[in-house]
């Protein structure tokens, strides 16, 4: 115990003397949250719209006006030439083309139905989908408006014959009523942050001692594996929790992300999760001999972790085999728990299954890495 106290003192002294480390710890949470939560969003603020209005009637102008009014579309060009519109999309000046064919108004009046064409740049499938849904909503609203005034049925083709008995669907988003994308992202980014601190800093810290030769020196002293590992991991474990605390404060007060569940539950889960994160870092440190290698290996692992975690894309939409792999991914379970507790206010009972799996993974990874470490040294 006494030896551990001396070793811990050394580790904390070294961490706080490392200015880059301290800066990373304090600034990383704020910067990452600000960047990822605002920049990495699926919300489409404004899509660039080119209108090809071949009809040039009051009805077609009405549609264009409503597209412009919502704030989701920015009219960059209005033309009668379809080629010119295609060209604008090719040169990335336009993301959406709205083509209103000749005889649009006349068809509406005569047959109660008329087509409009929406062309989207779908290079980014997800963004195109979101843009399309915005546009469809505007068209649908305009159609029902027209139906009321002109007593027409639907605009745009298929759909039930409207009139008195129309279905009116009102969507309400639970847990995130304004569908604020940041609410969804922030808990995941906090997890990613804790992962980086836990895994990367652990690997770098131990490998640095390897490079300097001080690890060999320690191996010649009576310091045991257990003491060494405890002295390395306890400080980094506490740093992970500090980074999480800072991140949570930023999320709460800068992004107004709700905290509906118990803060204690979040930190309890983080404490368990950190065992896995630190264990992976320790494991990396036994495999490599330079900090550069440690960095590469860790980034590779963390990248796979994050892609398979449901941070950016829901796990449920992955292929079955990938879903199975994701089950073994501690990051996925931690993100799930974070979202459940922060956004839905889930309690221990609701997250019990995820927490149990997470604990099992953490204990497994941690004991594996400790065993591996003992094998290498001495």
């Amino acid at each position: 115990m006494r030896t551990l106290r001396f070793l811990l003192r050394k580790e904390y002294l070294q961490i706080f003397r490392d200015r880059i480390m301290v800066a990373q710890l304090l600034l990383l949470p704020a910067i990452q949250l600000a960047l990822l939560a605002n920049a990495a969003t699926f919300e489409i603020k404004s899509a660039r719209l080119v209108v090809v209005d071949e009809d040039r009637s009051a009805t077609s102008r009405g549609l264009v006006d409503r597209m412009r009014a919502g704030g989701r579309f920015e009219l960059v060009k209005s033309t009668t030439s379809a080629e010119r519109a295609d060209d604008a999309m090719m040169r990335r000046q336009a993301g959406v083309i709205l083509r209103i064919p000749r005889e649009f108004e006349r068809d509406l009046v005569r047959t109660h139905t008329a087509p409009v064409q929406l062309i989207l740049n779908a290079e980014d499938g997800a963004a195109a989908g979101v843009t399309l849904s915005y546009a469809q909503r505007i068209v649908a609203e305009y159609a029902s408006e027209l139906a009321a005034t002109l007593r027409l049925s639907t605009l745009g083709g298929e759909g039930p014959v409207a009139g008195q008995g129309r279905l009116d669907v009102r969507a309400r988003g639970w847990y995130n009523p304004n569908l604020d994308y940041r609410f969804y992202m922030v808990p995941g980014i906090l997890v990613q942050l804790v992962t980086m601190v836990g895994t990367l800093l652990t690997a770098l810290n131990i490998v640095r001692e390897k490079e300097l030769g001080t690890l060999e020196q320690l191996n010649v002293t009576p310091v045991t594996r257990g003491q060494f590992i405890a002295a390395k991991l306890i400080p980094l474990w506490s740093l992970g929790l500090v980074a999480l605390t800072i991140g949570m404060l930023v999320a709460r007060f800068a992004f107004h992300v709700p905290m509906r569940g118990s803060v204690l539950l979040v930190f309890g889960t983080a404490s368990v999760y950190l065992l896995a994160a630190l264990g992976v870092g320790l494991l990396v440190s036994t495999m490599v001999s330079t900090q550069q290698q440690a960095m590469f290996v860790t980034f590779f692992i963390v990248l796979v972790y994050l892609l398979m975690s449901g941070l950016f894309t829901p796990v449920r939409s992955m292929p079955i085999w990938a879903q199975w792999i994701a089950q073994a991914n501690p990051v996925m379970h931690f993100i799930e728990i974070m979202r459940a507790v922060m956004l839905r206010g889930a309690g221990l009972r609701e997250i019990a299954r995820s927490l149990a799996i997470l604990s099992a993974i953490a204990v497994g990874v941690f004991s594996l890495s400790v065993r591996q470490y003992a094998k290498r040294a001495a």
Binding site: R2, T3, R5, F6, L7, R9, K10, L13, Q14, R17, D18, L212, G213, T214, E216, Q217, L218, N219, V220, T221, P222, V223, T224, A378
Partner: protein
């Protein structure tokens, strides 16, 4: 400090061997080092010195043979060996981002010295090395020569029975080397056995006995005077060249 009573030798090596695959780095070496002796362990690069030392300090398991250090078997009692030895590697091994005081405290603590003992040894060390003003300076900003003297003093802080020095004076000027050897003698006088590897042949002359390793074997062992007489050289340097590169000397 006395060596454990049932053994007259601080180090006993019997047929110690280490193979890496098909390559035999250390080939059945056998020798003894007496308690309180300053033992020079010489050899060209790649002769197997570092591998031998790593086995003696418990960092590497022997493939065959045995060795006892401070009375303990390096294969089966590595932890007791570690408690009774000090080690200073060719790579500078103090923490550069900690102060002199913090380094001394850390290693004192690791070897289980009480707070009182740490304070007392720190005081005597400061006096001996004239470190008073630099006690709270981070190690990275003190000159290399002092760093090495400090590293040595920290390696013997816990009064080990044997101290292993692996090329301790690499890259320092002759005056500092001379001062370093004064520290070594002072330590040996207090009964600590000193096991030192070096590339400087003048340093070999300071040793009580030297061994010269060639291709994993001990090619010669004796006092510097004996070796010079037996191999017919003016200096240990001559002996070394003759043994390590027989073609060149012939």
């Amino acid at each position: 400090m006395t060596v454990s009573p049932d053994h007259g030798h601080a180090i006993e090596v019997r047929g110690l061997t280490r193979r890496f695959g098909t390559f035999t780095a250390v080939d059945a070496i056998t020798f003894d080092v007496a308690a309180g002796e300053v033992f020079g362990f010489l050899g060209a690069n790649g002769a197997g010195k570092t591998t031998a030392i790593r086995m003696l300090i418990g960092l590497l398991a022997p493939s065959a043979g045995s060795a006892r250090v401070a009375g303990f078997d390096v294969s089966t009692e590595a932890e007791q060996v570690k408690r009774n030895i000090g080690y200073m590697s060719q790579r500078f091994s103090l923490y550069e981002d900690l102060t002199v005081r913090e380094n001394i405290t850390l290693y004192g603590g690791i070897y289980g010295l009480s707070d009182g003992a740490i304070a007392e040894r720190m005081a005597s060390l400061v006096e001996r090395l004239d470190l008073g003003r630099d006690l709270d300076t981070r190690v990275k900003s003190i000159p290399l020569g002092w760093k090495q003297k400090l590293a040595f003093s920290v390696a013997v802080l816990h009064d080990p029975k044997v101290v292993f020095l692996d090329e301790p004076t690499g890259g320092v000027d002759p005056i500092t080397r001379r001062q370093f050897w004064e520290l070594i003698y002072a330590t040996a006088e207090q009964g600590t056995t000193v096991f030192v590897t070096t590339h400087y042949m003048d340093e070999a002359e300071y040793c009580d006995r030297v061994s010269i390793m060639v291709d994993g074997r001990i090619a010669a062992l004796g006092t510097p005077a004996e070796l010079k007489a037996r191999f017919g050289g003016e200096t240990i340097d001559d002996v070394f060249v003759r043994l390590a590169r027989p073609g060149a000397a012939a």
